[in-house]
Amino acid sequence: MLLEAIGINKSFGGLTAVNDIDFSLDVGQIASIIGPNGAGKTTFFNIISGYYIPDRGKIIFDDRDVTKLSPEKVAACGIARTFQNIRLFPDLMVVENVLVGMHLHLSSNIAKIVFNTRGVRTEEEKAYEDARNLLAYAGLSGKETELARSLSYGDQRRLEVARALAVKPKLLLLDEPTAGMNPRETDEMKEFILHLRDERKVTILLIEHDMKVVMGISDHITVLNYGMKIAEGKPQEIRDNPEVIKAYLGQEAV
């Protein structure tokens, strides 16, 4: 078990955004969280990645309790994420965005940097090399020195994933990775996510609205509605679940 959430509860004022959710994820899986708007998916993501501390419940990652850790500590444990509305560093170069992601794996300290020691230079050179490779892997070669803001929408999404990969995460959280993409870009992203699991051995948890993507790549699906888990299982089981259909299409459709 890579990630385990036990009885997670989070309210904002009178609104219970996440209500007693149990969730678990095995190594090497691609799992999806789906649900109508306002179901609490992103809140759940934010709890895992340390932005919110749940009112009740526990998050165990890699046998460590990460419930109350700050986002940067959670990242250091090996969880990286992307955002629903892309959050790159727009005025940094593409390659620098990835280099920021590598921060945890670089070690030069301030004294070494000020004296520009050989160690710093070799480390930086290697980091740039790695960043370039990672960008090539994400299909962004040749754009290293462009500013992140100047990339096309699809490229920005890919860069965000590349930046998250630079953290070398064991678990990658993708918040609507295909939102706003055209069908071709969506297919590419789907392939890319599958590659990530198969080649890079990253476990992936995604929030997604595009059912073709969800049904096509998920090993496991969890459905949320009004902050509660209403169903979970394999894609086929979810597709036929009357509760899920009700949540998505309304009472009469059943």
Binding site: E72, F89, D91, T145
Partner: protein
């Protein structure tokens, strides 16, 4: 505009030659006529032209050094006023570079930067006058300390100011933008008022009367109290600050700062330790100011709280903003521009107008005496600069660090050679 286009159409070779002629010519003329205010401005301009010239740094750096360490001292020995102005420019340039680390690199708006400058100045002033004898018994040490301690205090000032920076940093870590600006502003006022009132119960700062005479620096028994000495001290420290700021900017620390500036939340989820990085930015920015404060105290031989008012902070901030936030060369130009405006250009202009009025060429009613309106024009120029050039005179732009580009080229060359051997 037409002129600029024309300049761009000129054959690059001729353009380069023209630039060399300008740089050398201006320096020669300035050497021959050290009294001319116009030539002084052109002289500073020639440094900028040199900076922008498309020649190798192997040529550029020595040329800059010749100008700064050769021409300027030669001129300065004949006209110590310009020595004073350019030393002032240097001090403010170093301050602007330090503030730029906080504001430009890390994006933390700081209206109280002068507090650290004041702290450094008082630190040296207290121990380099007999003031420290008020609270440290003579058995421990005899005050004033000798000028040899100046060099130690350059470092001590940096370290202590960095500590003060961290102290300020802690309570404001959660604040951003305007809130941060207000707290830092208050902090600077607190520091100034503390210095103003710390003459009782124990007289530490001598209150509003200020401290003097401060021991000038000394080296191997030689007292360094001439303008030329301070010029070279400032030049040395300025070069050091430029190198440090440059290296930090292109390092992993600089990238963390930029990431925090661009999107703090995203930076955190990349594992950037936001708290530590912000404190580091405050500390390093403050340390630059502390060191410059020590130099300022030694140069003036007198400090009092009035030198460290709110306008001083605003002045340094405007250098950073007008020059180009985040760009080291930009903020230096900002410092040159703002200091020259304040000390030189506007004064000469109002003097010139006053002269014309005295000669009866033009008539100026006493209500609009140009000398009274220097600050107004200064403010107007700042407003215009912000409207027409919001990104600064020399906007920040990201590029790969030079040494990395070089190694990339080397590799590319090696790579093609390997390819060739593969083919054969």
């Amino acid at each position: 505009m037409a002129k600029i286009k024309l300049l761009n159409q000129i054959n690059p070779k001729y353009k380069l030659a023209l630039q060399w002629v300008f740089v050398i010519g201006v320096n020669l003329l300035f050497y021959l006529d050290p009294q001319s205010g116009l030539l002084f401005i052109l002289f500073l301009g020639s440094l900028f032209v040199l900076y922008r010239m498309p020649v190798s740094t192997r040529l550029k750096y020595p040329a800059t050094l010749v100008i700064l360490a050769g021409v300027m001292p030669l001129v300065g020995m004949q006209n110590s006023y310009y020595f004073d102005v350019i030393t002032q420019v240097g001090i403010y340039a170093a301050l602007a570079i330090g503030l730029n680390i906080v504001v430009g690199f890390a994006g933390l708006l700081n209206f109280g930067y002068v507090a650290f400058y004041a702290f450094g100045a008082y630190l040296y002033a207290i121990f380099a006058t007999s003031q420290a004898a008020n609270f440290i018994p003579a058995a421990v040490a005899h005050f004033p300390l000798s000028g040899n301690w100046f060099w130690v205090f350059l470092v001590v000032g940096a370290i202590m100011s960095a500590g003060l920076g961290v102290l300020l940093g802690f309570p404001v870590l959660r604040l951003r933008g305007d809130y941060l600006a207000i707290v830092t502003l208050g902090f600077a006022e607190i520091i100034r008022i503390v210095f103003n009132n710390l003459d009782k119960p124990i007289n530490i700062t001598n209150g509003p009367k200020g401290l003097s005479p401060i021991e000038p620096p000394a080296l191997f028994g030689m007292v360094l109290n001439q303008p030329i000495h301070f010029y070279f001290i400032v030049l040395g420290v300025l070069i050091l600050t430029i190198i440090i700021a440059q290296r930090l900017d292109s390092s992993r620390i600089g990238r963390c700062w930029a990431a925090i500036r661009e999107d703090e939340l995203a930076a955190r989820s990349m594992g950037v330790p936001v708290v530590r990085m912000k404190l580091l930015a405050f500390a390093i920015g403050a340390s630059f100011a502390g060191t410059m404060g020590v130099i300022f105290a030694a140069k003036q031989t007198f400090v009092d709280p009035s030198s460290f008012g709110f306008m001083e902070s605003i002045g340094i901030l405007s250098m950073v903003i007008v020059g180009g936030m985040g760009n080291i060369a930009g903020v230096i130009i900002g410092a040159v521009g703002v200091v020259m405006l304040q000390l030189n250009v506007l004064k000469e202009l109002s003097q010139y107008l006053g002269q014309l009025a005295a000669q009866g060429v033009i008539h100026i009613p006493s209500q609009v005496d140009p000398a009274k309106y220097e600050k107004l024009i200064y403010g107007l120029i700042l407003i215009l600069a912000c409207i027409y050039r919001p990104q600064g005179l020399l906007p920040a732009h990201r590029s790969l660090p030079n040494w990395l580009k070089k190694s990339k080229q080397d590799k590319a060359i090696n790579g093609t050679q390997e390819d060739n051997t593969d083919v054969t």
